[in-house]
Each structure stands twice: as C-alpha cells, then as structure tokens.
Amino acid sequence: MSDLTRDQLTHLAQLAHVNLTEEELDRMSGEVSKILDSVAKVQEVDTKHVMPTSHPIALTNVYRDDVVGPVLSQHEALTGAPEVEAGQFKVPAILHAEGDR
C-alpha cells in the first residue's frame, strides 16, 4: 500500500502547475495513493531477463538527412497564439530569468 503524503501531493501539484484547495489536497492524497497501488502491480512482474525499453517496436537508428524542408510561415506559426506582438508570441511576465529554470 503506497502512502502518498499530503506534502508529496502538494509538491506534485506545484510541479504540474495545478492549484489544489486544502480540501482537494486532503481528498486526493488518498485517491492518488490508490492509483499508485494499481499501477504498482506492474512491479510484481519478473523483469530479470527483460531489457528496459522506451519504444514498443524494436527499432533503432531512425534518422533524417540534414536537409531543409518546408516550414510554417510566420502567420501560420502564430495562428494559435492567444496574443501576438512584433511577429512573436506574447506571454505573461515571467518571474525568473532565462536560464534560471
């Protein structure tokens, strides 16, 4: 039985940029623990002779030649932007400096 603490859930919410109320934190630490338990069943499988894999198909070395292809126009690129200025995506002020992440 995994026991996700309230602190761990708070941390997780911060990482995901999700605001949770006190009430939600209380309720969800229990709920998320249950989800973790369900997923933890996978760990019962004996993987001693299984190579870790990140891809379902046993492919390696899929590459592309270094040749320029079609790109979006600036207009197309910015179509989905909530706000645009000077050909760029306009985003809210960011509190920390670039490279400070």
Binding site: H11, L15, V62, L78, V91, A93, I94, D100
Partner: protein, 501 residues
C-alpha cells in the same frame, strides 16, 4: 542592498582549494534542427524557421538529425570519451515558455559519449588534464525578450517569444569536478572553455561564436579548506558568455565564497547570474525541489546504436586536433616557447601558417606578425587579422626587405600604410617613393656633408675610436629621409675615412 563582501584572491586561495565544474552548451551548425527539418539559422525574422514539431503541436513526430548525432560522436571521440553502444533520448519536464512542449528533449541515463578527458594548456605551458563526465545531445530553447519599462526581467510586464532557436541541436559537455588548480583556477576555467571552443571549431561542428550564444558556459564553483577531502557547497553561475568573463566569474565566486566561509556562514547552493558591468555574480533561484524534471524515456524516438563500423568511419574523418597541430607547428617552425605561445594567444597561428605557405620563412612570418603587425593591432585594439594586412602582403614585404629595396624601418612604415588601405607593400613603396637610396652618388654627397660638419667626430674615429662612426651615420640617415641602408652608409664612411671596412 548591502554590498557583497569578498576576500582578496590571494587570501581566498591561501585558505581554500577551489573546485570547479563546467557545463558547456555547444550549438551545432547543422543545416536543420535536431528533430525537425526547419533551418538552423541565426538572425532571421522571428518565428519563420519553425515547423509544427518545433512549436510542440499535438500529434507531431520528431525525427533525429543524423548529422547532429555524428557531430556528437566526433566530439566524443575528440574528447577521448567512450561512445555508448546504445543511448536514448529522454524528456526533461519544466514549464517555461521558451519550449512550447513543456519538456526539453535531452539524454538522461545514458549519454551518447561519456568518461573522457581533454588536456588544457595554460599560458605558461603547464598542462592540466580535465576529465569529462559526459557529452549528450539535446535541443536548444526559444528566445525570450522581456518587455517592460526598464527592460529588466523582474519588472517586465510581458515577454515575447521567438521559436527560431527552439530545437536547434545542442551538445552539452559536462566536466567532472576539477580540483588542484589552486590560484590558477580562473585561468584554467578560461583556457578550458577556449580549448573546447577550438576543438568544436576544428571539428567544424559549431561556429562556436560565444557572442552569438553558439557556445555557452555554466561555471560551478565550490571551496573546501586546504586540507579537506570533502567538496564544499557549490554555486552555478549561468551563461557566462565570453572567455574573459569566465575567468572573472570564477575569480569572483572564489573571493565571495571565501568571505562567506571565513565569516562562519554556509555557502547557499544556488544559481547565480554573471553581471558583466560590475564583474560580479548576483543570486538567482535557490536550488530546490523545483528541480524535479521527471525525466522519462522519449517514446517518440528510437534508441541510437553506434556500431564499430560507424565509429571507425567517423574516427577516420577527425581532423588534426588543435593541440596536436600546435605541437607539430611548433616543431616545424622551430620557434621558442615564448614566441609560439604569444602567437597562440594572439590567435595568429592560422595567419602565420598561411604566410609560410605563401613563401615566407617561419622566422620572417613570426617576426612581422608578432612584431610590427601585433603592435599596430594593439594600438587599434583589434586582432592582428583585422588590420587588412594579408599573408601575401607580408611575403611581399619580406621580399622587398630581403632584396634591400626597403630597410626594416621603412618596412614598418609601409605596414602602417598597408593597414590604412593604401594597397600592397610594393604599391605603397612605389606611391610614396619609399625605396632606400642605393644610389652611391646621392649617398656620397650626404656622407661628405656629414664629414664636413662633424670634424670632432672624424678626429675621434681617426684616432682609433671606430665606434664613434655611429655619430656620422645618424646625420646621413637624416639627410636621406631614413631611406638609406645603414650598413652601406657605414661601409662608405669607413672607406672615406680610410678605415678597414
């Protein structure tokens, strides 16, 4: 804000041993991006070098750039690394608008190259071996411009994002902790970055222009008491983007941390920012649990497998590396350590080599480039190669000098005029009538005048004080506007005064 206390550098390194570590990001000069076919180009209109992949659109499929992988393998080989037979890409998660996917595609558990080393040669010739932890492939992020009244980040009201740089291939080279440099730590820092820069240039995999951000350095610094074996708490100074600044940043962090530790306080583990104007670092974000990037394997990309045949093929393409080239040239040219080192520091190896190839002797090429041309460059505050003087000019100048058409003094004058854009040395000599006076009749007249107007000197010479003849050469040179060959004048004077030539 109160001013930060620092110790003097000498005090700091007398009590503490600095430990350094570097992360260098090298932007590759491939034609396209790491995972998309968009051009990898600098200075274009914003958001014109982007595809759906670079904008993190749903459902897109990245495909790896083969050339970027090969560049990483070449750099790994040049840094004496082991190339991983198999490595993967991973997602590094963080929320920041410079990457619209909310993750950076990077490598995590297994880097494509690991456990290498590079020899770094300090200014006095001391060789310091820096061990390389790993070199991995990843992608660059977009460029943010913070907008607001003061233009400063903390008071910015919004930011503009250009994704042209998002997805540009990067190799991150991570060093192992470097200790034992002592008071040479700032110099080592600078020369290490310089060494990596010249290697990637020699490999032709990056333009490595620091002012454009092609090569960016994060410098980790910590201190430990002289007799300690346990490393101290480190700070990471971000984006120190010139070679000079790297030395200063390390120097400053050593002095600052020494003051903190000497006052009995702990060093705070944090990111710091380099301030070019004050040559100090200022605190950035304190390292915290926000550095939880939740890496996981990138499911859209398949592993890279490097077999021996691929490795051999790339190894065969490696050019002569800068350190080997320097050793070879130094031997071939037979120059002294000091002269050769000055040449390296002046970034003049290429131009000297071209001058020698064009026909000058190593001694002559070195004499002009490191002599009068270096002096002109210093006065103009530019590199020796930026004066407009070419290897062919130097060869021509040397030919004119050897043939006796001009003497050294005139040659220096000619170089000044060549730098001013007056043409080749031969053209300058012609246009300004600078050739030495070799006409004995003209010289004889000047010599007769000198003898006639300096009877006391003549008396001395004839009384056996032959060195006094120098006092007669001066007036002759003056009379001919410096265009006489001093050796010839001396000879003619000696004949006139009846001395053994």
């Amino acid at each position: 804000m109160t001013a930060t206390t620092t110790l003097t550098f000498a005090d700091a390194v007398a009590h503490f041993e600095p430990v350094l570590g570097f992360e260098i990001h090298v932007e590759l000069n491939t034609a396209t991006k790491m995972f998309s076919q968009a051009p990898n180009a600098f200075g274009d209109e914003p958001n014109t070098n982007v595809t759906e992949v670079d904008l993190g659109m749903p459902g897109v499929l990245p495909v790896v750039n083969r050339t970027a992988v090969e560049s990483a393998i070449k750099l790994g080989l040049a840094l004496n690394c082991t190339i991983a037979p198999r490595s993967e890409f991973a997602r590094k998660h963080y929320f920041y608008p410079d990457l619209p996917k909310n993750f950076q595609t990077s490598q995590y558990e297994q880097a494509i190259a690991h456990d290498g080393w590079v020899d770094v040669e300090l200014d006095d010739g001391t060789v310091f071996r820096v061990e390389i932890e790993r070199a991995h492939l990843e992608e660059d992020a977009g460029k943010l411009t913070h907008m607001g009244e003061s233009g400063r980040i903390h008071s910015a009201s919004y930011a503009l994002v250009d994704y042209n740089r998002a997805g540009v291939p990067l190799i991150e080279v991570v060093s192992k902790p470097i200790s034992g440099a002592g008071d040479r730590a700032p110099e080592l820092a600078k020369v290490y970055v310089q060494t990596i820069r010249e290697i990637v240039r020699a490999l032709g995999i990056s333009d490595a222009r620091m002012e454009r951000g092609n090569l960016r350095c994060d410098a980790n610094v910590s201190l430990m008491p002289k007799d300690a074996t346990q490393f101290g708490t480190r700070t990471e100074t971000k984006n120190v983007n010139s070679l000079r600044a790297i030395g200063y940043a390390v120097d400053y962090e050593i002095r600052r941390q020494a003051a903190v530790l000497s006052a009995g306080d702990p060093v705070v583990q944090q990111t710091r920012h380099w301030q070019e104007d004050t040559r100090t670092t200022t605190p950035g974000r304190t390292k915290s649990d926000a550095d939880d990037y939740r890496y996981f394997p990138e499911p859209d990309l398949v592993p890279i497998e490097v077999d021996q045949a691929w490795l051999d093929r790339l190894a065969a393409q490696l050019p002569e590396l800068p350190v080997e080239r320097r050793r070879r040239l130094k031997t071939e040219w037979g120059l002294s350590d000091a002269v050769f080192r000055d040449m390296v520091n002046a970034d003049a190896l290429d131009v000297v080599e071209q001058t020698i190839t064009a026909g000058a002797s190593p001694g002559a090429a070195s004499k002009w480039w490191m002599g009068e041309i270096a002096r002109l460059a210093h006065a103009a505050d530019v590199a020796v190669t930026e004066l407009g003087i070419t290897p062919h000019h130097v060869v021509e100048l040397e030919t004119l000098t050897t043939a006796g058409t001009i003497n050294d003094r005139l040659a220096r004058q000619v170089l000044g005029h060549v730098a001013d854009g007056e043409g080749s040395p031969a053209e300058v000599v012609e246009a300004r009538s600078l050739a030495v006076v070799s006409d004995d009749a003209a010289l004889t007249a000047a010599i007769d005048t000198a003898i006639a107007s300096n009877p006391d000197v003549v008396a001395k010479v004839q009384a056996g004080k032959t060195q006094a003849i120098g006092a007669l050469i001066g007036p002759v040179m003056q009379a001919t506007g410096g265009k006489a060959d001093a050796g010839r004048v001396r000879q003619l004077l000696a004949e006139k005064l009846g001395l053994q030539a």
